[in-house]
């Protein structure tokens, strides 16, 4: 359960201040599938950073369960990111020198599980996204859709409560986009995740339970 109260985020860059989020108050119950839309520069990624404990608000509070993400120490935030939150990025963000399996394994490193268990769980996660036979491939040897599947496996291997995806289909063609959305939706349904997807794509947004629109830092609910 996310609780955002009067969240404002300002960036100071090159002498001028940009208000990326402007007094946002918002609740996201556990297990909800939320789509966030809006024009470019509206503040979508900034909101996702607040939800993902990647950055702190300038003012206001962000709570995930009992944890206040705005005031916790960096090391606690690192811990929360490592255990409770999974990320899927627009650019996949796989580590180019590691194999698909090893990329998935990196998400288990903060949990301190044994090497054997790590490999097992990573292999199962890859299988669950349909890439069980491509574990030893480097990202460069995989298609865009396959890379995003690896990234999803990496986000889900630690069995988080929350999955945050920033334009997960932005780099993919329509068929692959639908394929990835099917996958995310399926996982969301199976695991009871809280799934927040930032997207430009109305086709993607239509599949969500709830749609938010952000423009100039202001959040609006869409029916």
């Amino acid at each position: 359960m996310y609780r955002l109260k009067n969240v404002t985020k300002r960036y100071d860059a090159k002498g001028r201040t940009v208000t990326a989020l402007n007094d946002v108050t918002l609740e996201i119950p556990d297990g909800q599938l939320v789509a966030i839309q809006g024009p470019t520069g509206g503040g979508k990624s900034t909101l996702l950073q607040m939800l993902g404990a990647l950055d702190r608000p300038t003012s206001g509070t962000v709570e995930l369960g009992d944890a206040s993400l705005g005031t916790l120490a960096d090391s606690r935030l690192t811990g929360i990111r490592g255990t409770e939150i999974g990320f899927v990025f627009q650019g996949f963000n796989l580590i180019p020198t590691l194999t698909a399996l090893e990329n998935v394994e990196t998400a288990l490193v903060p949990l301190g599980v044994s090497a054997d268990e790590r490999r097992d769980r990573a292999a199962r996660a890859l299988e669950s996204v349909g890439l069980g036979d491509r574990g030893d491939h480097r990202p460069a040897e995989l298609s865009g859709g396959q890379q995003q599947r690896v990234a999803i496996a990496r986000a889900l291997v630690k069995e988080p409560n929350v999955l945050l995806a920033d334009e997960p289909t932005g780099n993919l063609d329509e068929d692959t986009r639908d394929e990835i959305m099917d996958l995310l939706e399926g996982l969301w349904r199976d695991r009871g995740l809280t799934l927040v997807i930032v997207t430009h794509d109305s086709a993607v947004a239509r599949r969500a339970q709830r749609r938010l629109h952000i423009k100039a830092g202001k959040v609006k609910e869409l029916a």
Binding site: Q49, Q90, N93, E102, A107, V109, P110
Partner: protein, 508 residues
């Protein structure tokens, strides 16, 4: 994961790894080679000093040479022997030319004597373990035929008839000048001084009972070159000496400090230097007190030159001296510069690597990697790159050292003049001939086998070997790790400052 990630990164970004490793390898190899050669040169210098000054000599005392006055030209007086042949000297032969023979035992050039009582003064100085005194001399033998100058001496300002007679019957003359170095030393006293670095090759050494006797010990290589054996006689300063033994330098195949060693009192008498010595060898009670002992000795003998082994090492001349200079100056600077360049390359490449991998590290942080883990990964990569370079560098360095040892260049080392022993003797011999150059031209004469004896005493030949010590290897590894750590620390610091939000933002 740490190991897997490390391996994948180093192999996956091979170009960067290779460049950093090559830079480090070259620097490390250079450090090893320079270090080993420097050690080798130091050993060689010590060997030269040992052969000249003996083992255990900490300090030598000599009298500084006063520069000759302007009127004293032609290699006379203190600068070398002078041969004066009167009109009737030598044995007249049928054609009017005369055969002359003269042998002089004089103080070597560049050598100034001091009173033998200085030795007693030295022995009384606190901190002196042992001391001995020697008198360095040069024996010069002149054998030759002089043409007849009869008509020239009689003729006035008119036409001068050509001189007749001589070796070529046209007034030419033939000289054979031979010189060798003679050292007068206290018989029986071998503890400190030049003979302490020698091993008896044949016969016996000088014993205390030899005092006042005409007996000599020869440098074995000089004896060999002159075909003189034990039991033979040798003319020194016109007096016949019996050769009782030969000595060779310990641990080297070169020459000892002098060609010939004779009892000190005999040397003093024959060279008319009664009560004089030229060098005092001092052994300090403790090696750590050498510098303070030097000061005390200087105070006791204010007019003398007091030199420690370290002072003398700076005076080693010849190719050995040049090698020493080259290694200590160029070699050290080159190592420092190449090392700095290698470190800089490693640091710059690591920083650019971290910058390039902003998104990668941001992603890792975003999925829960702690700062410490990310920094450790960056530092680990750098240290490993440094180590790979270091190991390659050790291999290259060892090959380089092996090449030096296989080639084993022979270095010649002597001591610059002014210290009064070997080096100055060769100088003395040369000056002596210089004094006669004018006459050479006029007589068209031939000088025979000049200064071979003096030369062999002046220079010591040492084969350079470059030893590799465990210390050098440890130093090399430490430097490689240090370079890696430095680059890793700087790169890691950059990585630690990356915010996890960069994972969303930074576009490749």
């Amino acid at each position: 994961m740490f190991g897997t990630y490390l391996r994948r990164e180093l192999l996956g970004r091979r170009r960067q790894t290779i460049i950093i490793a090559i830079g480090m390898a070259l620097a490390i190899a250079l450090v090893i080679i320079v270090n080993s050669v420097a050690t080798g040169v130091r050993d060689a210098q010590a060997q030269v000093l040992r052969s000249v000054y003996g083992v255990g000599t900490d300090i030598t005392i000599t009298r500084p040479v006063t520069p000759p006055s302007g009127t004293d030209q032609g290699g006379q007086g203190a600068r070398g022997p002078r041969f004066d042949f009167g009109a009737g000297a030598g044995d007249a032969s049928g054609d009017g030319s005369r055969t002359v023979h003269s042998s002089r035992l004089t103080v070597g050039f560049g050598t100034q004597t001091m009173a033998a009582t200085s030795l007693t003064t030295v022995q009384k100085v606190h901190g002196v373990e042992a001391a001995s005194a020697v008198l360095s001399l040069t024996n010069t033998t002149f054998d030759g035929t002089l043409p007849s100058f009869g008509s020239r001496q009689q003729g006035g300002a008119g036409a001068t008839p050509a001189p007749s007679g001589g070796s070529d019957a046209k007034g030419g003359s033939s000289f054979d000048v031979d010189s060798f170095t003679v050292m007068g030393m206290t018989p029986g006293g071998r503890a400190v001084g030049p003979l302490s670095a020698t091993t008896l090759a044949k016969g016996r050494t000088l014993a205390a009972s030899d005092e006042g006797k005409h007996v000599a010990v020869l440098d074995s290589s000089y004896a060999k070159s002159k075909s003189i054996g034990v039991g033979d006689t040798l003319s020194i300063g016109g007096t016949d000496f019996t050769v009782v033994g030969t000595v060779s330098p310990t641990g080297s195949d070169s020459a000892t400090a002098s060609n010939v060693y004779i009892p000190l009192d005999v040397a003093q008498k024959l060279s008319s230097q009664t009560g004089k010595v030229s060098t005092i060898y001092v052994q300090a009670e403790s090696a750590s007190a050498v510098d303070s002992l030097k000061a005390s000795l200087q105070k006791a003998l204010p007019k003398a030159t007091v030199a420690t082994q370290a002072d003398l090492a700076a005076n080693v001349s010849g190719s050995l001296g040049s090698a020493g200079q080259l290694v200590s100056n160029l070699g050290t600077w080159l190592s420092v510069i190449v090392l700095a360049a290698a470190f800089l390359i490693a640091i710059l490449f690591t920083i650019s690597g971290v910058t390039r991998r902003t998104r990668e590290f941001g992603t890792l942080k975003a999925i829960g990697w702690s700062n410490r883990r990310v920094v450790g990964q960056v530092a680990g990569e750098s240290v490993l790159q440094g180590l790979v370079g270091g190991i390659a560098g050790i291999a290259i360095g060892l090959i380089g050292v092996l090449v030096v040892n296989v080639v084993s260049p022979t270095l010649t080392g002597g001591l610059s003049s002014g210290r009064g022993v070997a080096g100055s003797m060769a100088e003395g011999a040369r000056r002596t001939f210089g004094g006669g150059t004018g006459q050479t031209g006029r007589f068209g004469g031939a000088f025979g086998g000049a200064s071979s004896g003096a030369r062999s005493a002046a220079a010591t030949q040492v084969d350079l070997s470059a030893p590799v010590t465990a210390w050098v290897i440890a130093l090399a590894v430490a430097l490689a790790v240090l370079g890696g750590l430095l680059a890793g620390a700087i790169g890691g610091w950059r990585a630690s400052r990356l915010r996890p939000a960069e994972a969303l933002r930074s576009v490749q």
